[in-house]
């Protein structure tokens, strides 16, 4: 289902961060949000997830308006977040973190849960070996895998990824890029916040350039590849 963001204003208390931001994320495509630190990328994802209220504007998933819904209702609509810094439930085990994700899945029932759990563990076999381990004791790469697995348990139609490869060793970063591409191939609309130019050029079907909370322009994959300097400028590299 298509995610459409229309002229949203978002802020923290009275401090406004986003000003009339608009873009859309198509199913089966990876949409990258690009911008310097503090441009409002994470704020955008939090607003999409219902963690921050809108001051103005509208967010729609297909024909359903989801702006105004609280986060627990947004996730039930099929939107899942892999947050920046992973934000796992560190004192819980790997299995318990996955269980939390399964609870948010629209498909409840023991058989569905078992199937769903096996599916995400097939994607990240290393987690299968560490099910009883406390999440905070995992390596950075394993924590990112768990954060992604937890979100995939929701069986999302829209997956929000906030700098998923930040600080990871190249092989794990590549594995996560492959998973993102595979999810898009399966019809999920992926919204990716990313600072690495290589990742952006490899994955993005379209890119939304944000500066100081405002939309600068939207680029197709082809435009991105033809103007890497434009991307570099907006990433602040």
């Amino acid at each position: 289902m298509m995610l459409r963001v229309e002229s949203i204003d978002v802020g923290y208390g009275t401090a406004q961060v986003l000003y009339g931001l608009s873009f859309s994320a198509q199913p089966g495509q990876i949409t990258c949000l690009l911008g310097r630190n503090g441009a409002g990328k994470t704020t955008t994802l939090h607003a999409l997830m219902g963690l921050l209220p809108l001051m103005a504007g509208e967010i729609r998933l297909g024909s359903t308006t989801i702006s105004g819904l609280a986060a627990p209702d947004v996730v039930k609509q099929g939107i899942a977040l892999v947050p920046q810094g992973r934000r796992l439930f560190g004192a819980l085990s790997v299995a318990e973190n996955i269980e939390i994700g399964l609870m948010a899945s629209p498909k409840q029932g023991k058989t569905e849960h078992r199937r769903n759990r096996s599916r995400v563990l097939e994607l990240f076999p290393r987690l299968k070996e560490r099910l009883g381990q406390q999440a905070s004791t995992l390596s950075g790469g394993e924590q990112q895998m768990l954060a992604t697995a937890r979100a995939l348990c929701v069986e999302p139609q829209v997956l929000l990824l906030d700098e998923p490869t930040e600080g990871l060793q190249p092989s794990i970063a590549q594995q996560l890029r492959d998973v993102s591409r595979e999810l898009a191939r399966q019809g999920v609309a992926v919204v990716l916040v990313e600072q690495h130019l290589d990742t952006v050029l490899e994955l993005a079907d379209s890119a939304v350039l944000i500066e100081s909370g405002r939309l600068v322009r939207t680029l197709s994959a082809e435009q991105l590849k033809n103007n890497p300097s434009l991307v570099t400028r907006h990433l602040g590299i």
Binding site: G50, L51, P72, R87, L92, I100, A104, R150
Partner: protein, 312 residues
Amino acid sequence: MEFGPHLILALLEGSVTAAVLALTAAGLAIVFGMLRVVNVAHGEFFMLGAVFAWFVTSGLSELANVPPAPAFLCALIVAPIATGAVAALADRLVLSRIGYDPERTIVATIGLLYVLQQLTLMTYGPEARPVEAPFNTRIALPWFEQGSDGWALYWPWGFGTTSYKLFVIGAAAGLLIILWLLLRHTRLGLVMRATQQDRDMASAFGIRVNRVYAMVFGLGAALAALGAVLVVPIQQAHYLMGGDPLLMSFIVVIIGGLGSVAGTVVAAIMIGLADGVVSVFFSATLAKIIATIAVALVLVFRPHGLFGRRSA
């Protein structure tokens, strides 16, 4: 009586205190651990538990002639549920509306303390009223003495306890095990632990955080009420009885480590036993003074408590 039997008696008394204190303080620790609310009204939930127990047992006894044991069993179920419901309502009406802000919740729970106390005074009255124990058989205990023929058993006069006091210790231990199972091995416990760690992420994974908070506040109050129902046949129900449990619970929670339920239970056992021994051999006031000095020392030398984690 010799020192040995005297010490055993003191430890038995201390075990009863420790059992009730562990339940009551566990409630306070859960609320602080999850909501970061210093619940000054916790002692009033203890008092409400005792008062509800009196209403249930006396009502059943007078209206339906129900014997003490089933009436007490009803009180053990009804009083914590009713107290938990009052607490959950207070959470919805007051705490959630001030966003669980640490400073404002202290003031709000002080207000709640007086509201509950005065409402109880208006409805229940100023009298201290007893609740009949479901059973109260005297159990004499044996001791050993060395005579000319070696060690021999004998029964010192006054050396014994009651079946009800042993029941209080056993019931509290059982309830704490149930609480541990609830927190560690149920879906509800998992949701509570996840919410405790990251409210926003819990919310992003479909957990209704405000409902969890109301439930936790209710559970904390219900634990205090359970402690009160167990102890009310030994003490009496009175509208001012919440002060002592509140002070002792804070002492135990601080010594155990703020928010650590396991630490709280261990600290309750230590403080309860020490209270029993010092009260029997010296005086109850001295026991309170020692507990208060202990908490002051912990605050100075180990502010995160004996079993709490140092905050980053």
